[in-house]
Amino acid sequence: MSAADELRVVLAGATSGVDAGRLARRYGCGSLLRAGPGTLQRMGALPALIDGLRLAREADVAAYRGGLLDRGIECATVSEPAYPERLRVLHDPPLALFWSGARPDAVDPPAPAAAIVGARKASDAGLLLAQRLAGAVAEAGGVVVSGLALGIDAAAHRGALAAGGVTVAVLGCGVDVVYPRSNRAVFEQIREAGLLVSEYPPGTRPATWRFPARNRLIAALADATVVVEARARSGALITADHALDLGRDVLAVPGTPGVASAAGTNGLLKSGAGLIENADDLCGWLGLDRPADPPPLPPGDERLLLEALREAPALPDELVERLQLPPARAAAGLTRLELAGRIARDEQGRWRTG
């Protein structure tokens, strides 16, 4: 199989909006490109793909690659050595992978990689935990893989970036397409400090069927997949299924029984997934150094506040009442703890320890 032919088939798939991967694996890229329309139809190709293949037959692949390079995008097909080893274990590896960003090495890192995925609409606690888990993995030198969706995915990327670590975002569209748009800031940061990857050529618009497909790449690029928060039929569970198929660890964060937003993760735990409560747990699964314990605080408002928050997340008002502190002193103490990275606040104003 020649790399040029593979890239041509990928481009044909992209222009026709049809997944050409299955046919390519069965018949080979060369024969797909050489076959006439009648043969292709008998092979089961849709009319759009037949047109796309006809157009792609003469495509100048070298010039195409040159054009991509000028825009900071690289690619490798499955028969090329630059293709990530981690993807080859898939039973349906993508024909080609496109990437853009500062850390091309992040798809095949020597260090352990964790996929952190979950619901788009997540609770504040879930977002905060995703951020903390990602931060701990990144700080210990691991790689954080996720799908750059809203909610847990974005929180995981943010956590890794904030810890100055490496993160890989697997997109369901071209690596030059920001989707969802509200993630533009994270998108740019990942390009500067991590890696954006996609099996779809640059310019590909997001389509619903592409998102479940990219989940297999997320699972394959990581040594373990953590599901932070998921409903019963969440896309994050697809990622967990792929991880299971690949023989990778599947981990889940437990939620309150009976709450819809925890049904997915609790289901995973029931069927034997590893239980993740905090960053220590995750680092243990990945064989990374556990984050060092921060030094104990000297006695004072801050220590009182931290101890109260260890028991349960609380609003400033609740702390004021419980500890009988003046509101001004409570506010000042909480800010100090926040600056020291000991606590974080969700958007309801509730403080919690990490």
Binding site: R120, K121, S123, D124, L150, G151, S182, A260, L315, P316, D317, E318, V320, E321, P327, A328, R329, A330, A331, A332, G333, L334, T335, R336, E338, L339, R345, D346, E347, Q348, G349, R350
Partner: protein
């Protein structure tokens, strides 16, 4: 014969002089015309003036009467010219001495029975009459107290057109102007009624002391409106010039109720369906809510539900303390130095992040709700606090009186001494800006809130704790 009377019209919150000229052409067929860009209410003055003159037992000239409102290029509106038109006609038809009419100003509406009715903006009109060097200002009795507050011109209250003419002819003495009522203002709602909410109460106190705009984020029923309503009661009491400004605006807007003068800071709470013109002013150069709340509190409940353009138009008054309205009819600058207090729910259904009730908003709705508050607008709120649903049913809180005393002391301290940052405070602020990725504008905001916090504690220098507390009031309306 031609005669001229003087009246005034209101644009923005200022009065401008109008010369009302009347021309009675003897030997022509009866007719009555008003020219000079007069609006409908002024055109209708013809009927009121004709009946008024007859009811006051004067003669309406049975000839061609032309009334001109000069300067003719400006579009005039309202019913405040009635009295001047009647006097000009009476003078032009020789029923009252022209010179006497020319010496005074007249600002009142006429009833069909000839009595004078009150109009809006009498304070501004009295000030303008004083500037024009007039010898007196004829007003309806109801407007007398208000006009007298300006202390610019002798006020001549008259019950009806007949009495007005008698006063001009020197045959009757004007009724003495009653002194402005001095009964104490009815006390507003008290902070004592707010149970719990220590953090929000503290934010309210800081807002009042340092004049910081305040944004409260919390679920429905957590008491955001209740808190906001108690803010005017703890702000430093208005000075006399401030009270006069407030009265003047309320006089123009017609919201001055009964007393003839304002006693307290205004509290305005426009509904979120308010248009841009209603919020910042605009329609016919009338003051909007931002001006009506001048020196008081402008409360915007359900902030994201407001019309986007209307909110953006509020940015300028929030920053400069005034609004500039430009319309075809001209442009005016209006004062709008109000303390803006806004409230919003954490999400459209109101239960996002609530541990006991599940939020039913979709991601898209949530995102679009939050995107309605633009960054530059959010930046103008120095204090942003979360107001959780209150669990406390405990003891009532401190009274407004106690809080107001601390606020006043802090306010005076802030006015006299510039706040210096102690080195430790400076370090903490710089460190926080690095870690929390705060912008320069946010940094200035934090610094000024910290100065207020220090002042509330009676210290002119800003310490580390003050900065730490200030940093706590920055919940993002994400």
């Amino acid at each position: 014969m031609i005669a001229t009377a003087t009246s005034f019209w209101i644009t923005g919150i200022d009065a401008r002089r109008i010369d009302v000229e009347a021309h009675v052409e003897s030997g022509t067929a009866p007719a009555f015309a008003v020219v000079g860009l007069a609006d409908r209410a002024v055109q209708e003055a013809r009927q009121r003036v004709r009946s008024g003159i007859k009811s006051a037992s004067y003669r309406f000239p049975p000839e061609r009467v032309t009334v001109n409102l000069a300067p003719a290029r400006e579009r005039k509106q309202g019913s405040g010219f009635d009295l001047a038109i009647a006097l000009a006609i009476l003078a032009a038809s020789g029923q009252v001495e022209s010179a006497a009419v020319g010496r005074v100003g007249a600002a009142a509406e006429l009833g069909l029975d000839g009595r004078l009715r009150p109009i809006q903006g009498t304070i501004a009109i009295a000030e303008a009459a004083g500037r024009q060097g007039l010898e007196g200002l004829l007003v309806a009795p109801e407007n007398a107290v208000e006009a007298g507050l300006a202390e610019a011109v002798p006020v001549l209250p008259a019950y009806d057109l007949y009495e007005a003419v008698q006063i001009l002819a020197g045959q009757a003495d004007p009724t003495p102007v009653p002194a402005a009522g001095s009964e104490p203002p009815p006390a507003g709602p008290d902070l004592r009624d707010v149970c719990g909410q220590p953090a929000a109460r503290r934010a309210l106190e800081i807002a009042a002391a340092g004049h910081h705009n305040l944004l409260m984020v919390g679920p429905p029923g957590s008491g955001k409106t209740m808190l906001a309503r108690r803010l005017p009661g703890i702000m430093p009491p208005p000075s006399l010039p401030e009270l006069l400004e407030i009265t003047r605006i309320q006089s123009v807007a017609g919201t001055l109720n009964g007393h003839g003068r304002a006693y307290a800071r205004p509290f305005r709470a426009p509904h979120h369906s308010a248009s841009q013109a209603a919020l910042v002013g605009g329609s016919s150069l009338r003051p909007g809510e931002a001006t009506m709340a001048h020196r008081g509190v402008l409360f915007l409940d359900e902030l994201p539900e407001f019309n986007r353009a209307a909110l953006e138009a509020l940015r300028l008054p929030m920053q400069d303390g005034e609004v500039l309205i430009s319309r075809a009819a001209g442009s005016v600058r209006l004062p709008a130095r109000s303390l803006v207090v806004a409230a919003m729910n954490p999400c459209p259904c109101g239960h996002h992040g609530d541990p006991r009730r599940e939020c039913v908003c979709t991601e898209q709705r949530l995102a679009s709700y939050r995107s309605r508050i633009s960054g530059p607008l959010a930046d103008r709120f120095d204090l942003r606090v979360a107001v959780p649903r209150s669990e406390a049913h405990g003891a009532p809180g401190e009274t407004s009186e106690a809080v107001a005393a601390r606020v006043l002391a802090a306010h005076e301290l802030l006015a006299t001494s510039p706040a210096d940052l102690e080195p430790a405070a400076e370090r903490l602020l710089a460190d926080a800006c690095d870690r929390l990725l705060l912008s320069m504008r946010a940094r200035r905001r934090m610094q000024s809130v910290a100065a207020t916090v220090a002042a509330l504690d009676g210290r002119p220098a800003v310490g580390e704790d003050d900065v730490a507390e200030a940093l706590a009031y920055r919940v993002e309306p994400r």
